[in-house]
Subunit: 127 residues, 2 copies
Amino acid sequence: MANRKYAEVCEEVCTHPEILDRVKPDMPDEERLYDLAELFKVFGDTTRIRILYVLFESEMCVCDIAALLNMTQSAISHQLRILKQARLVRSRRDGKTVFYALDDDHVRTVIGQGMEHIEEKHGRKKS
Amino acid sequence: MANRKYAEVCEEVCTHPEILDRVKPDMPDEERLYDLAELFKVFGDTTRIRILYVLFESEMCVCDIAALLNMTQSAISHQLRILKQARLVRSRRDGKTVFYALDDDHVRTVIGQGMEHIEEKHGRKKS
DNA sequence: AAAACATATGAACATCTGTTCATATGTTAG
DNA sequence: CTAACATATGAACAGATGTTCATATGTTTT
């Protein structure tokens, strides 16, 4: 089950074994790629993106975020849990309320690059 | 239906109107935030991440990618369509075969930052 | 024109995901 | 201790998503 997979898909004319053999060793572990996809999955939801954007400004309690986004406290809490598990936000408790904040600056960079990509691609009308 | 939403969620003690009023005008349009989430959704799948990583090395035809990832030609083609719609890859036809390549460098930056985030967060054992 | 091949695509299916609702946990005030 | 409040969480439901299968499109060769 090791290396007859090349031939399974298309004929030998199409696949270029030399490329395959060169590229394959450079691929990261499956586990890393899986984790990476999981991370981006976290960014891939409007509610969570909006939460992150809100936290760009300042730390905030669950209740404030819910009010600001006009959503249920429960919904926000569920999403904050996901963001926290992904280490994108951290929380501190102050009495009854829990304040959430961005955990590091990768969040800003990633979202910033994403925004750049969108602006660039949407804003081109000619070649 | 305008501004009683603050009170709907929790009592006036919790929400801090001055924060809300300060943060709200700084939020991007809903449409942009939606597009941004859509973009990251594209990154949020193992198959697509693997495809992008493969294309880091060189342009490649559908068949080669399928062979390299040990997946169906159909599955890869479907995913390439999504990547192309998101302007993350572009394609050129050469006879019967179609070659795909990364469309710009935001891809590298975003994935790079994502990787950094993962490595950093996984690699911390002490405070 | 027909055969062969690389790629694209529509429909169907199973799986995953986000919200809601009800309720539990944890903290402070009385 | 009890009431009040902020947050967390489990179950359930609806909608989104990725793969497979069958088939269509497009290109080259004969």
